[in-house]
Symmetry: C2
Subunit: 295 residues, 2 copies
């Protein structure tokens, strides 16, 4: 069996390859800056092309391929998923929400374009994502995606995260926040890929469990990196969770136990994949990458 | 032929009837305030139940029925359309956008719940709307709706409206703003109803033209009412367009010519309906209501 480091490296190669193709599609799926309202289109593109691992497109593509999906429609979904992720980042960074000035080493949308444009750019990316999902032609995938994005998913996690700032919280609440804020969209990415490929209900359930585990692991690692990394490494303010009184894993159970929990979740995700009669190599590698990543 | 006043009165009866049924469905389609995140669910409900004519649900239902639609799925769409309208109002009212304190005689979302919750409540309503549309099961309707909501539709109009505040604009720009900001979602409501009923391409084109005409007329009447009404009648600040230097019809062509244009658009909308071999009585009545309404 390959070492976790070797798996992680394979995942990075895979994600880079998908990112390249997905980014070419972003360009096609985003309105041109020459069309009115030009500045809004510029703001949408600015945040979409600010870099990032393109993890959600990578997961959607991996699930789609694993379940035998055919054709080009997956690229509509990869653009939609990255747009939805970017929309959430733009709105989270707003002065009235997290008030962050930098993201991926660049000024945040509202610092660059002003608050009104940032609000609208987020809205526009969210809507554009659903237009692309409509074009992909699978209404069930839209329902599942929206459910995991809304108040029982990502938005619910973000809202609770904001409400809990500076408050005493327990592990149950941090789990709720982390699962909803981060894992839900990761889970949705896998499910959308699976649905577009026509996966069975049973397979969907398995991939959902894998997604929950790696999604939660992803956020715990994020919390750890916020403490142990420098601002330069992260491209955003290191230590900002503590400064803002954010509810994090390490703040409740400490760094060591947080690392153990991430490792356990990794193992759970691999066990989930064991039940699938397909080539799960890429998803195994991505799980390894998620718990070993340093930014 | 019925007088325009009689038609308008019939339309109000129709809209009230649909509103009652649609509002019962809003309650079903909105998350309960007892579910986490409670305050966000409260904010979503607060704005959704702040009143309003429920014009978009009324138009969707009228188109659905006219084209022979069957079953309950239209009520998923009527909830979705009102959620999308409400989402746009919440974000437009934000301090960084239009900075409005009152809407329909009540404090705006951010005045009542704070800015962060208002941003998230808008986002959540937008996402919830697409979940419901996903449940309605027609991916084409989602694509068409999102297109008319996004930067080539409503959001494009809002953004241009913000950018033009206090600037010298011509009629072409005001037409662009009005069509996109207001008419696009009105047109979308009719098209969604038509698509869910299985209307033909040709019928869709006709209903689209009707929608464009009444949508533009609706916004011109809005501009006129902002000048001639009192704050109490409107439930929001009268005269606020002038105060904010908004691009409006009367500010460019004057009140009288604005009224004439609204009348012309009304006539165009009726001519569009003449081409349809269905019972267009309700849509005729709604057009009459739109140009005769006083709030």
């Amino acid at each position: 069996m390959d070492s976790i480091e070797k798996l992680s490296s394979a995942a990075q190669d895979y994600l880079s390859r998908v990112a390249k193709e997905a980014e070419a599609k972003f360009d096609e799926h985003l309105p041109p800056v020459t069309d009115r309202p030009c500045r809004l289109h510029e703001a949408m593109r600015y945040s979409m092309f600010a870099g990032g691992k393109r993890l959600r497109p990578g997961l959607a593509k991996a699930a789609f391929d694993m379940f035998g999906g055919k054709g080009d429609k997956i690229w509509l979904a990869t653009s939609a998923l990255e747009m939805l992720h970017t929309f959430s980042l733009i709105h989270d960074d707003l002065p009235c929400v997290d008030n962050d000035d930098f993201r991926r080493g660049k000024p945040t949308s509202h610092k660059k374009f002003g608050e009104a444009t940032a609000v609208m750019a987020g809205d526009a990316l969210c809507i554009q994502a659903f237009e692309l999902m409509g074009r992909a032609g699978n209404a069930k995938a839209i329902e599942v995606l929206a459910r995991l994005l809304g108040t029982y998913g990502m938005i619910g996690g973000e809202m609770t995260d904001i409400e809990c700032e500076g408050k005493e919280v327990n592990l149950e609440i941090v789990d709720y926040i982390h699962y909803h804020k981060t894992a839900a969209l990761i889970e949705a990415s896998l499910l959308v890929g699976a649905l577009l490929a026509g996966a069975s209900e049973g397979d969907m359930e398995i991939i959902r469990n894998y997604g929950k585990s790696i999604g939660l692991a992803f956020q715990i690692v994020d919390d750890i990196l916020d403490i142990v990394s420098t601002t330069e490494e992260l491209g955003k303010d290191a230590g900002s969770d503590i400064e803002k009184g954010k509810a994090t894993y390490p703040s409740i159970v400490g760094l060591e136990k947080s690392r153990e929990r991430a490792k356990e979740l990794y193992e759970e995700s691999i066990r989930a994949l064991d039940a699938l009669p397909y080539d799960t190599q890429i998803l195994r590698a991505i799980a390894a990458f998620i718990i070993t990543r340093v930014k």
